[in-house]
Every structure is written in C-alpha cells, then in structure tokens.
Amino acid sequence: MNGARAEPLSQVVAALDTIIIGKPQQVRLCLACLLARGHLLIEDVPGVGKTTLAHGLARVLGLSWQRVQFTSDLLPADIIGVPIFDRATQQFQFRQGPLFTQLLLADEVNRASPRTQSALLEAMEERQVSVERATLKLPEPFFVIATQNPHEQLGTFELPESQLDRFLMRVSLGYPDTQAERRLLAGREPRELLDTLPAVLDAGALLHMQNEVRDVHRAGPLLDYLQQLVAHTRARTDLKLGLSPRAGLGLMRAAPAYAYLDGRHAVLPEDVQAVLPAVATHRLQRRDAVPESGRSIAAELLRAVPVPT
C-alpha cells in the first residue's frame, strides 16, 4: 500500500510549502479536507497567512475562485446574486453572485450577520441555491475556505455549533517557529510568490482524485477504532455534547484523504489520529466552556482510546 504518491499531488504539497513556510502538517490537512470534499475553516489571528494559504490552494489546484470579504452589512444577495430587471426583455434575470465559483474564499466569515452566514452555510451543505423558486446548482467541485478571527469579538457573530458542524475541518495556522520565521523574513514576500505558483492540477484531475479517495480501504479494526473514539466523546460527562454521527462520517472521509496524500490506499490509525484534532475540535465543547480547550480535548481523546490491534 506504500505505492507512489500521485505525482501531481506531491508537487502541490511542495508548491504550497514554499509559500506557507514551516506548516507542512496544516497544508496537508487543508489538502486532505479538499480531497475529502469538505469545507475548510481556517481560524487564526490576522497576519499568519490564512488568506495566502487559501489563495495558494486555489492557484495550485487550478480552480476558478472568488474572494468575498465578509462584513456586517453584507447581504445574502451579495454572495448569492440578485435578480436583475432586464429592460429589453421586461424580465428579471438572475445575476450570479461570487458564490458561483469552484473555490470560494470567505474571509472573516464571522463578521457577517447570521442571515448571511446561514445563507452561505446552506449553500455549502446543499451545493445548490434556491432563488425565486428556481434551484441553481453550484459548480463542481465546490469548496468554501472560510477564515475567521477568534480573538476579535467586537462586531462579530459567532458561528453557531450547528453551522460549525458544516465545516469538515477547522485548522489553525499559528505563529511560525523561529526557524520558519527566519526563512520567511529572509525570503521573498509570500504574496508575491503567489503569482509565480504554477497550476499543478485542474478541476478534472481533482475530481478524479476525490473519487480515488473514496476507494481507499478502511479495515474493520479501523472502523472499530473510529467508533470507539466517537463513543468515548459521548460517554464523557465533561463535554457538552458528544461527536455527532455527521462528525463520525467526517472522520471517515478525512482519514482516507489523509492516507491518500501519503500515497497509501489503506487507512491507518495514524491517519485518524492526524485528522482528529482538525475534524473534531470545533464540534466539541467542554461544559465549563473554557474556549481554547478544543485542542487538548483531541489529545485527551487520542490518549484515552487504545488503538485496536
């Protein structure tokens, strides 16, 4: 199963590593999320390269993309589109909003009003929008990479738990370590590098890979492991809610994608362990509501549940 990783994929990883320095794990998680057809939430303080990462992904994957800066006065119509009255035909025609793209970068998603948020999240879930009794399909593939700023509380609308659940992964970039920081400072500005990134893939190739991810083997003991992990969160009393079945399915989608990135056609417990923090933490909350507790819950979880043999 250690077959050669799909060649273009390693190029993608390599290209992204040049613009996001010192964060190979986060880059892999983001890629795995997209390979698993999931939407991605990047949560971090400003200036650590969230937008750069999103741009880089779109470019390298060769997808059409749109960026929307979410603000409090952004209306659902501003992202979905509006019906326009055509004087010539005396009829309304629908003008597509930025949503109709393959990769939507929703910057600072938590700044928008709940109405706009829910319009976006509904589109993410359904992969289609309803306008004036008509249903419009979104392009294939369709991803949302949303970023949000956790520490900026004023003027933000916290995403409710049910909507957080729509994101397959939540990834934090964090500050680079000293070595990476040094390289960052010494090298060229990542934003400039963005323009030099080649488009390694295109939509067709990505769809093909997504289909291959579906065929990655999940052995019985691995499913046991997943079940035990999920069951453990439900059994714990210090958590508000256990992992939902949707979260379990999310793990089951993300882990194969991670294995595929590694060039394997079978999921190992390590793959589950690698994606679990990103998949599970935004869905778990302690009863005592210590806000940053998500990450440590994932670690506790992994420590508490033995790997099946």
Partner: protein, 338 residues
C-alpha cells in the same frame, strides 16, 4: 393500604440503612458505569412469593399423594423459577450506563433526567426500568448492541443545585417472579431555577432606542432586498441600489426587533430575596417569549444583553445559584466574579 404507623417508620429506617449500606459499598459512580455482578441485587417480587407458595402447595400435594407426575411438575416449576432468577439477573449484567443528563427545572415542578443505556454484550435486554426514591420512570427495551433511553421525573422543591441522589435501574424480566436492580450514585446535579412568579411590569433597559421610528410596520431590523413588485411603497425602494444601474429593489425589514431590557435585582425593592428571584425568572420567561433581548444584573454578577435558549439558561442558572451575601459583610462589587 393501611399500615400501622410503627410499621411505616420501621420500613423507612430499614430503607435508609440499606441505602447507606449500598452507598458505602459501591461508592460514587463515574460514568460510564458497566453493571457488574457485585452491584446487582435480586429478590423475589410479590408475584414470586405467591408463586413460591403455590409451589409449596403443589409439593405437599405431590408428596402426600405420592404422585410422581405432580412432583415432577413441581420441580420443573421450581427449576423454572431459578431459571427466571438467573435470567433476571443476567438481564442487567453488563449493561452500560453511558450518560446521564439532567435538565434544569423550576422550583416546585419536576426535573427530567435522561439516562442513556448501552447494550454491548450481545444480548437483548427487554424491559429495563428506571426509578428513584419515590418516583418511577420510563421503561425501555435494549436491543443487542444498541442504545436505549430512559427518563425519570424528579420533584424539585427548592431553588439551587440539587444533587441527583440515587437512581435505580430495575428489571423483572422474564416472568416477573424476581426483581433485579442496581443503584447508581451519579455525581450529577440538577439546576433548579426559582419558580417564576410576580406580576410587576417589565422594566426597559436604560439607553434603549425609544421612539426611533423605522419604515415598515413595527419593524426595525433591515433584513435584505427583494425585487420590486407592483404596489410597493416608493419609500421602501432602495434608491442607492437603483442609482448603481441595478433594477428597482425594495428593502425588507424583519419584525423581530424589540427593545433591550435590563433586569436588575437591586431595582426590585421591597420584596424578599426569593420573591425577587421569582420575579426576575418571570421576566426572563416573558422576555424570551416576546423575543426581546435582555440583560440581567445580580449583586456581584452581571450577564450581558442577549437572547436565545443559551442566554435564558445562563440567566436562570445565575438566579438558581444566587447566594444572598451574608448579613455581616457588605455586598461585593461586581468585579468579584467579572
């Protein structure tokens, strides 16, 4: 049933002793709890005692008439009751209590306790019941490798954090001749809100937008644009949009908005602590049902304006847990818990 008083007293004392003994023996339970042999108790039911009496009659008759078939029948039924005992005990064995969730309740009503049971030993478990001291709960059948839910209503006489106490899981399966049970001592507590009461008018938060009139009937929150239709008022048309070369659009307003409120404990003068808390609870409920946003201020605590179920719970829980400051000390300023 009319029992003499001394009998009732004796039973109560005996029950208390048994409860204390079981508590000492088992200790507190940390969930999940898997029911093992040593914590499952079993005794015949009334029907079981009646059955034993019937067996005795059959035995005497069989022996007296030296009737082998009657004796054999008696012994088969005796064996059956032992099988029944065994099956009853086994019906609880290895059942796992995964979660216990308590729902907050108002004082003077009943709190709902949810238990989530899990069968993971590969044996269907019919007829599992839950009850507590003096209350009976629901029944459920646990299929193989599956979860089951039980519910129990507990009386909540007083405001505050009420310990869940002990909960009993019982079964009389399969023949009702024996009852097997186990006591759980979960560390859970129930938040008991003060009983909502009082009829004072709801106060309005200082600085709330009063008298500002917005377009649209009773509406103040702008919620979006829609295409212009025949009959729309020109005052509602979004002219700025039209100016950008886009077609005629109409602004829409949602009817949800209402004025913010502040519920202040200190502002309720002249009443006892409990009455004030009850009045605050009443207001919170009313505001919530009216869709208003509200803030709560208690001596030493303040909850920001908000609304929704989570906010309601936070406010009511604060009321539930409120401890009046001791008389000798002056009330702490609000930064104590802030």
């Amino acid at each position: 049933m009319n029992r003499p008083g001394w009998w009732t007293t004796l039973r109560a004392v005996q029950r208390r002793r048994a409860a204390a003994w079981i508590r000492r023996r088992q200790g507190a339970d940390a969930l999940p709890v898997t029911l093992q042999r040593r914590r499952i108790y079993i005794l015949p039911t009334r029907a079981g005692l009646g059955f034993a009496l019937l067996l005795l009659v059959m035995l005497v008759a069989g022996l007296n008439y030296a009737n082998s078939i009657a004796l054999f029948l008696t012994f088969v039924l005796a064996g059956l009751s032992l099988v029944s005992m065994h099956a009853c005990h086994r019906n609880l064995l290895q059942v796992r209590i995964n979660r216990i969730d308590t729902e907050p309740a108002f004082a003077g009503s009943q709190a709902l306790v949810h238990l989530v049971l899990m069968e993971d030993a590969g044996l269907p478990r019919p007829d599992i019941r839950v009850d507590g001291d003096g209350t009976t709960g629901t029944v459920c059948d646990l299929p193989m490798h599956a979860e089951g839910r039980l519910e129990l209503l507990l009386a909540t006489p007083r405001r505050g954090l009420m310990p869940l106490g002990r909960v009993r899981i019982t079964t009389t399966y399969p023949f009702g001749l024996f009852r097997a049970w186990t006591w759980l001592h979960p560390p859970h507590t129930i938040t008991v809100y003060p009983a909502p009461a009082g009829a004072r008018p709801m106060p309005i938060a200082p600085g709330a937008r009063q008298g500002t009139h917005m377009h649209g009937p009773d509406a103040d929150e702008w919620s979006g644009l829609r295409a212009w239709r025949e009959g729309d008022s020109p005052r509602q048309v979004a002219w700025t949009v039209y100016a950008r070369g886009l077609p005629l659009m109409v602004k829409e307003y949602s009817a949800a908005g209402s004025d913010d409120r502040l519920f202040d404990f200190a502002a309720l003068d002249g009443a006892g602590t409990e009455q004030r808390l009850s009045q605050l609870a009443r207001w919170i409920l009313d505001a919530e049902s009216a869709g208003a946003r509200y803030a709560l201020r208690l001596p030493g605590d303040r909850i920001q304006t908000g609304h929704g179920l989570a906010h309601r719970h936070r406010c009511l829980a604060a009321l539930a847990l409120y401890q009046p400051p001791a008389r000798t000390t002056t009330p702490e300023p609000s930064h104590a818990t802030g």
